[in-house]
């Protein structure tokens, strides 16, 4: 067989098997329609699509532009003035950890149409791109920076001549992840209800009607859009990074450049970083003049949770939901990370694997997980298993990209050195690849923790009717604003707490090994 055709054999085989399984209703008694049936249905429904696609894409595109614009500006600011990143830390972590679905009802009940989409799409982009910008800007080889500084160059010269160029491919890989995130954010905004247009609306509307072929069609179209957005940045990154691989072995990463400060300043910075998100929450409600009935300020929420006669019942509901949600989140996350870690190490052994894997990762993982959930429900039913499947799916992709990207940065010389001493592949993995991937494993864990919670909540909302996701959906139905806010804030707090725990472990482990944290 000509070797050019070989890559197509696998997918073709899958397609044929899928067709057969669909034709004869072999999977989950017909929940998996044949590709031909899905396409036929797509053709029938085609006139419905343009309006829905446009609504989703418009929100995603606008949010992408706004979110990334803010993110890059923030990343540059944080890199130039490290103290600002410390003050904004609380806000950054909250924005990052916030499960978009948790604030979707709030946004939809408070604002009119494109705003919720744009906000959630922008939030989906912000942290990824801000972090990429900051990491890219600060990972500049210290020796190159020294050359510029040795001629009296200040921070702006270093930024313009060295850091910006080094950051570019990193920022592009951030945008690559941000693009499907924006699509996902836009669709999640449609969950809040109320709208007529959007792929999410279409999906929710079709979910109750039990038409697997239509659901699959919507899922495939949503995936295609997210995949194309991702692909655009792959192409762009390849064009830009073609000839700028690091040439010499970077032995040092720029240290965090904020100078040591006296204790009272440290304390002030920590206080400011905690106060900032709360102040912003309050200020936004005040500035936008949101009616007090809809919008809970921090004290109003406190009152709802602890000051009213119904408060103990509220608390009990929240605790019970949390007890259902947390274990699933942990389990799904660990499984997703483990698979991603093994596959990322695999790419070190056979670089061809990354080329073979990325398209697969694309199709199954770029698929906006909301679109994925109904399909998984069809396939595995409404039991707890579906939560796990959704969670693994949403954690695997970003974790894999983070680790594979990180391992690509391991200098060739470092990889070849053990080989030069006759090391086996396993020794090379143990001596170089695994230690080198540690900072990225931690980075991936930080990145995926909130996504795992999001995945669980979506599955709970759409499928199982348990946990925080279900509580949110129910409260939305009852217009129980207090509970909607309580669940939103609780989800963010859980997410932030989890993130902080990972950071603490990471600092200890990497500190002991003398490695830099990939912040």
């Amino acid at each position: 067989m000509p070797s050019r055709l070989r890559p197509f054999v696998g997918p073709l085989l899958i397609l044929v098997l899928w067709e057969i399984a669909g034709r004869f209703g072999l999977v989950a008694s017909g929940a998996l329609p044949a590709p031909s049936a899905i396409l036929a249905r797509l053709a029938v429904d085609w006139s419905d699509y343009p309006g829905h696609i446009f609504a989703t894409l418009f929100g995603a595109g606008l949010g992408f532009l706004i979110g990334n614009g803010i993110a890059i500006a923030a990343g540059v600011l944080f890199a130039l003035y490290p103290v600002t990143s410390r003050v904004a830390r609380g806000l950054n972590v909250a924005l990052f950890a916030l499960p978009p679905i948790a604030i979707s009802p709030i946004l939809v009940l408070t604002f009119s149409d494109p705003v919720p989409r744009v906000v959630l799409a922008a939030i989906g982009c912000y942290f990824v791109t801000m972090t990429a910008t900051l990491v890219g800007l600060t990972q500049a080889d210290a020796r190159s920076v020294d050359v510029v500084r040795a001629y009296g160059g200040g921070r702006f010269k270093v930024l313009a001549l060295v850091q910006a160029r080094i950051a570019l491919p990193v920022i592009l890989s951030g945008l690559r992840i941000a693009a499907p995130n924006a699509v996902l954010g836009s669709i999640l905004a449609e969950f809040g209800g109320g709208g007529r247009w959007g792929l999410g609306v279409y999906l929710l509307g079709s979910l109750g009607r039990g038409e697997p072929d239509r659901l699959w069609g919507i899922g495939l179209v949503a995936t295609l859009i997210a995949g194309l957005a991702y692909l655009a940045f792959v192409v762009l990154a390849r064009a830009v990074t073609g000839s700028s691989q690091a040439v010499t072995v970077p032995t040092s990463v720029l240290r965090s450049t904020d100078r040591p400060r006296p204790a009272w300043q440290q304390g002030l910075i920590v206080l400011a970083s905690i106060a900032l998100p709360l102040a912003l929450w309050w200020a936004l409600l005040a500035v936008l003049k949101v009616p007090a009935m809809l919008a809970k300020t921090p004290p109003a929420l406190y009152d709802y949770l602890f000051g009213l006669p119904g408060s103990p019942a509220t608390q009990a509901k929240l605790v019970a939901a949390l007890a259902q949600t947390l274990p699933m989140t942990l389990l799904g996350m660990v499984a997703g990370l483990a698979i991603a870690f093994v596959l990322a190490l695999g790419t070190q052994l056979t670089p061809r694997l990354i080329r073979a894997l990325l398209p697969v990762a694309l199709v199954t993982q770029t698929m906006p997980l909301v679109a994925l959930t109904p399909l998984l429900v069809l396939l595995v039913g409404r039991g707890p298993a579906v939560i796990l499947w959704v969670t693994i799916s949403v954690t695997f992709f970003p974790a894999f990209v983070t680790m594979a990207q990180g391992l690509l940065l391991v200098p060739r010389a470092a990889l070849e050195l053990p080989r030069a001493y006759g090391a086996t592949v396993w020794q090379q993995l143990r001596l170089v690849s695994v230690p080198a991937s540690l900072p990225y494993l931690f980075a991936a864990t930080r990145l995926t923790a909130p996504r795992a919670l999001l995945g669980v909540m979506i599955a709970e909302w759409l499928a199982t009717g348990t946990g925080l996701g279900n509580l949110l959906n129910q409260s939305r139905g009852y217009l129980d604003y207090g509970m909607i806010w309580a669940v939103a804030v609780l989800s963010v707090l859980v997410s932030v707490a989890f993130y902080q725990a990972v950071v603490l472990v990471e600092r200890r482990v990497l500190g002991r090994l003398g490695m830099a944290v990939a912040e």
Partner: protein, 256 residues
């Protein structure tokens, strides 16, 4: 102090704190390089040679003592564009061509590249890289990259030149050639030069003065004047007087 283009370190100390451990890299170092002089710095690995250069370039701040380059604080001198530097590692920007890497100091100092076009071409030729002007660092060997770094150090016509083992990555033959070229450049420009080296022969051949250091803590143990007439020719490497000086330095390095 107040030398037109000299280097002066007075009772300079430097300690590093890394992972809770304090390293005394330099203790009470006194060093004065007269304008137009050529000083070689030699000593065991880790004795603080690079640290002296980095302090003089303002890349680190001293824990104690005073440093002046051309009578000014380091930051002022480097920002004024009167210094040139080549580090132990070429540290080229991988996305810039040879030519653009050589021009980097001009970009940092905000100078127009145009008036320097001939100078850049001449320097690239001088380090034997004619024809590679548009090559990227990844396409060069380690020695070639190091030569680009040397050309880069000279592009601003520096009055004070800092060289940190610039020929460490070159083979012996090329190294001798570059030594002879460096002497020629130095005699033409009379830039005050501080050269860090591990090669005793290189130090004796090039320098007016060899400063010998010892480690833990980093300090200067001896200063040996080299009174050999200039221009020094390759035959000098086989001269008995040359060998006597080499032996003296080797002895000083061993702690005699």
């Amino acid at each position: 102090m107040g030398d037109p283009a000299g280097i002066s370190l007075r009772r300079v100390s430097k300690s590093f704190e890394a992972r809770g451990k304090l390293t005394e890299a330099l203790r009470e170092v006194n060093l004065a390089c007269a304008p137009g002089s050529f000083t070689a710095l030699i000593g065991p690995s880790g004795c603080g040679k690079s640290t002296i250069l980095r302090l003089a370039l303002g890349l680190e701040t001293a824990s104690g003592g005073e440093i002046a380059v051309a009578g000014k604080p380091p930051a002022e001198a480097t920002g004024g564009g009167i210094t040139g530097v080549a580090f132990q590692d070429a540290a080229l920007l991988p996305w810039r061509s040879v030519e653009a890497n050589v021009a980097l100091p001009l970009d940092v100092l905000g100078r127009d590249r145009k008036p320097y076009r001939d100078k850049i071409a001449e320097l690239i030729e001088l380090v034997g890289l004619a024809g590679y002007e548009h090559a990227l660092p990844a396409e060069l060997s380690g020695g070639m990259r190091q030569r680009v770094a040397i050309a880069r150090a000279l592009v601003t016509r520096p009055e004070v030149l800092f060289l940190d083992e610039p020929f460490g990555a070159l083979d012996q033959i090329l190294r001798r050639q570059m030594n002879i070229e460096l002497q020629r450049i130095w005699m033409e420009s009379r830039a005050t030069t501080l050269l860090v080296t591990h090669g005793i022969d290189e130090a004796v051949f090039l320098a007016d003065r060899v400063v010998v250091m010892a480690s833990r803590p980093g300090r200067i143990t001896r200063v040996i004047d080299i009174d050999l007439p200039r221009p020094r020719r390759p035959e000098l490497f086989n001269d008995p007087a040359f060998h006597r000086l080499e032996a003296e330095i080797a002895g000083a390095l061993d702690g005699h």
